[in-house]
């Protein structure tokens, strides 16, 4: 009888959230959707509503993490680019696809130091690079459908690169020129693209996590409402190990689990949040151990192994869309080789020796290159040609973007609301009058349309 009740409760819990129309259900009381749970005197397990499967025990023992048995890390190839498990099926990727993944990582790794340098020269206000983490962005993006929605933190340039964000689009954003989709409003590296289904990056950490849960719920509902025209899609949501300490991480995973949202939470655990090492960030078994607590299927992968990241994401996507749909957590382990940003000198809190060791010893780009060379897909000549070509393309986009004018001044006020408010229109007039009265004090000519560009829609 008890078992039947538990099975019944489980069946109800796993019932997909259907979309009934008005009248379809008829009068229905809320209490019919939940099951009464009562503690029976003869039961050997807990039957309080909060935990129905817990066996009683008479031994007083606190549960704790075992420091010697952390959750294992999934990998496919080792640091030398060799497949670890010879019994595994060979990598199921065309040579073109592997080359694209390699070139996308290479492009990010060439663009990063150029832009870092441009910032040092004062030509750019700010930059953040992805060194050491190119494989996480490119590998996971390669496992998603181009229709899947993506929310990012900021160190996922590889995702944009893989999805087809063009070099000029990167540069327009970085230089905040008139072609920047963000209208010159955001700091550099806060990219966004509607046609690539990637939401614009914002600086507040982890805020994108509960948003990703909500977006995934919307995608699921839109599919359930029109299954023949709207395909199943997931949301992929990226964040760092530091961001996972925010309350929004907790809120997001819990609500994604309770509402069965098809969202892949992808944590880049790179060992540092600016200067804070993970030992000061958490004391549990990384981020992965938390997923299980929320009832979320979780995996830890080697983030320097692009094949492992890709496979885990492919499987996560499949699981997320199976049955009533559900969230998945992936913790990709890596090392932040670069400084946190151009405003950070990371040798103030970690040794240059440590950084160099990671750069030389293990890195997602050289690992894949070693695999490709062994497969006969790559060699030194191709490497040289690719490097030179990419450098040239980047510099061309760089120079063109830097020469563009800044966006129209009216973009200061546009898009706060769908339409300008009466108060804003008065403020536009006021600003115009100030500039006209003190023309020498303001350089409006670097903005498209000059002062006339202040006239908003």
């Amino acid at each position: 009888m008890m078992l039947a009740r538990i099975q019944q409760r489980r069946a109800i819990a796993s019932c997909p959230h259907r979309i009934p129309r008005i009248g379809e259900l008829g009068p229905q009381k809320r209490w019919k959707t939940t099951q009464a749970v009562a503690q029976q005197p003869w039961s050997d397990s807990l039957q309080f509503p909060g935990a129905i499967h817990s066996k009683f025990t008479t031994s007083l023992r606190f549960a704790s993490t075992d420091p010697n048995h952390a959750m294992s890390t999934f990998r496919i190839m080792d640091a030398e680019g060799r497949l670890v498990d010879s019994s595994r099926a060979p990598i199921n990727l065309s040579p073109e696809e592997v080359c694209k993944m390699y070139l996308d990582m290479l492009t990010v790794s060439i663009m990063d130091p150029i832009m870092q340098q441009a910032q040092r020269q004062g030509r750019l206000s700010f930059y953040m690079n992805s060194a050491g983490e190119e494989g996480i962005g490119v590998g996971s993006a390669s496992a998603l459908s181009s229709e899947d929605t993506i929310f990012l933190q900021y160190r996922e340039t590889g995702v944009f690169q893989y999805r087809g964000f063009k070099l000029e689009e990167f540069m327009n954003q970085l230089f905040a020129n008139s072609k920047d989709y963000g209208c010159g409003r955001n700091m550099p590296v806060h990219y966004g693209s509607r046609h690539l289904n990637i939401h614009t990056i914002s600086s507040p950490l982890a805020t994108q996590l509960p948003q990703a849960s909500g977006a995934a719920y919307a995608l699921k509902l839109q599919h359930l409402q029109s299954p023949s025209t709207v395909s199943k899609k997931v949301v992929a949501c990226f964040f760092g190990d530091g961001a996972a300490s925010e309350g929004d991480f907790h809120a997001a995973l819990n609500i994604a689990a309770t509402r069965s949202c098809p969202v892949i939470f992808l944590c880049r655990n790179n060992g540092y949040a600016i200067s804070t090492p993970t030992l000061e960030q958490y004391r549990g078994d990384g981020i992965a151990s938390r997923g299980v607590g929320y009832g979320i299927d979780t995996i830890r992968v080697d983030g320097n192994d692009i094949f492992a990241v890709r496979e885990a994401t492919l499987k996560a996507r499949e699981l997320a869309l199976t049955g009533e749909m559900r969230p998945i957590l992936i913790e990709a382990m890596s090392y932040r080789v670069s400084h946190h940003s151009t405003s950070d000198d990371s040798t103030k809190y970690r040794s240059g020796h440590e950084i160099d060791a990671w750069r030389r010893r293990d890195n997602p780009i050289t690992r894949l290159r070693k695999w490709m060379e062994r497969e006969g897909l790559w060699d030194e000549a191709r490497e040289k040609e690719a490097q030179n070509r990419i450098k040239k393309e980047i510099m061309k986009a760089f120079n063109e973007a830097e020469r563009e004018k800044k966006p129209r001044l009216g973009n200061l006020f546009n898009d706060v609301y769908e339409e300008l408010t009466e108060e804003q229109r008065e403020q536009v007039a006021s600003l115009r009058k100030t500039i006209e009265t003190y023309p020498a004090e303001y350089d409006v000519e670097q903005f498209e349309g000059g002062l006339d560009g202040l006239d908003t829609r």
């Binding site: 959230h17 929310f151 409003r185 509960p210 977006a215």
Partner: protein, 397 residues
């Protein structure tokens, strides 16, 4: 005033004990024995509510079809909110309703019967996490849905402050020409004093949101208004903070058109024309203002114009400025504390733009700069006496 804060008593004392309590108690919130001004509002006669169908349907802001053909029904505020939500869910499959304890009807009954009629996929409970609720709602809206999220009390909106201020308000702006926005978002929250809500069931944090470009802040004063303004908020392509004065949920009752309709956002309403003083308020204190004006006009022989802001931000500056230019005197009334409150913005704008027409300093009648201590509420919130006295001060200046 009815004790209408708690949804229902969780504990019912046995009959003997109830009799003992009744014999030894006095009403929790009785007026002072000899009060002439500070008496409870009589909602059955107040001129601020539509007591007949013809009065409700005469409103020129209603669409012609509603004015001509709609029936009306006598509804309390929580019922008219329920009607607005029901219409929205019926008209648009993209509308979703969620929050804490919403599925069984909500702790104030605003979502009664919607879960059973529209299903668990569109009307549902969330875990107890305000930042999660609002973040989730922003994500839904960014994906093209029209989520109506509920925060159980405005006092508990602060965990979601980051999501509202840094995310919802700035989503469209930072997305630029990609055109992505979360304008389908509405966040509903009961607010305001209720007589015994103390520190965390009484707050009106609207001024924290009026400082945030990108958000619309709306507060209705009546069932008729709540239905139309909530429908307009859900239809709006900007994120809206919709604040519901919870002491009006059951206290106010009026004729409300049965058909769906919207009332304009960012448009104030002149409730009563006058020549000598303009009183500007929104939400529940409008009833206090109305009572105070009745006494003031009789006692001082003056004529007072009463204006309901309705949308607190972006607010209808022209209507207020035009009124004050006519009357030369202004009193701003709100429950939340006076320091950097909505009254400060209204008074400063009046001072800037009506300086030569002002006959007296702008009066602000608002909560004192303290917290809502349980037994002190009557001394904290703007009451009839303080509004009456502010009108007196303005005309005698």
């Amino acid at each position: 005033m009815p004790l209408n804060l708690a949804p229902r008593p969780l504990f019912r004392a046995p009959a003997g004990l109830r009799a003992l309590i009744a014999a030894q108690s006095r009403f929790y919130s009785a007026p002072s024995p000899n009060a002439r001004l500070n008496l409870p509002t009589d909602f059955s006669t107040t001129p601020l509510l539509h007591h007949s169908a013809s009065s409700a349907l005469a409103n020129p802001e209603l669409p012609e079809s509603v004015r001509k053909h709609s029936k009306t029904v006598r509804q309390q505020l929580h019922e008219s909110i329920n009607s607005a939500l029901r219409h929205a869910l019926t008209q648009d499959d993209n509308v979703l309703l969620f929050g804490e304890d919403l599925a069984f009807g909500g702790v104030f009954r605003c979502s009664a019967n919607l879960h059973s009629d529209f299903g668990d996929s569109r009307v549902f409970n969330t875990p107890l996490s305000e930042q999660g609720i609002v973040g989730f709602a922003i994500g839904c809206a960014a994906q093209g849905m029209r989520p109506v999220a509920e925060i159980q009390f405005a006092d508990y909106v602060y965990p979601a402050f980051d999501q509202l201020v840094n995310e919802a308000a700035k989503f469209r702006y930072r997305a630029g020409t990609t055109g992505v926005h979360c304008g389908g978002l509405v966040v509903r929250m009961p607010c305001g004093g209720v007589g015994h809500g103390a520190l965390y069931h009484s707050q009106s944090p609207e001024s924290l949101f009026t400082h945030v470009p990108g958000l619309r802040v709306v507060m209705p004063r009546s069932p008729f208004q709540a239905k139309g303004l909530l429908a307009a908020s859900i239809a709006s392509n900007d994120p809206v903070i919709f604040m519901e004065p919870k002491n009006l949920y059951r206290a106010s009752r009026e004729e409300v058109p049965v058909d769906p309709y919207t009332l304009p956002l960012s448009k104030a309403e002149i409730l009563k024309p006058g020549k000598d003083v303009t009183v500007i308020s929104y939400g529940a204190p409008l009833y206090t203002c109305s009572d105070a004006i009745t006494h003031a006009e009789k006692d001082f022989g003056c004529s007072v114009e009463l204006i309901d802001l309705r949308t607190i931000y972006p607010w209808d500056r022209p209507t207020i400025l035009e009124s004050v230019k006519k009357t030369g005197r202004a009193v701003v009334v709100h429950e939340s504390m006076v320091n950097a409150g909505v009254g400060a913005e209204v008074a400063a704008t009046i001072q800037e733009q009506c300086f030569l027409r002002l006959e007296a300093p702008v009066q602000r009648v608002a909560g004192w700069s303290t917290h809502v201590g349980l037994v002190y509420e009557k001394f904290l919130m703007p009451d009839v006496v303080r509004v009456y006295d502010a009108i007196k001060t303005a005309i005698e200046y």
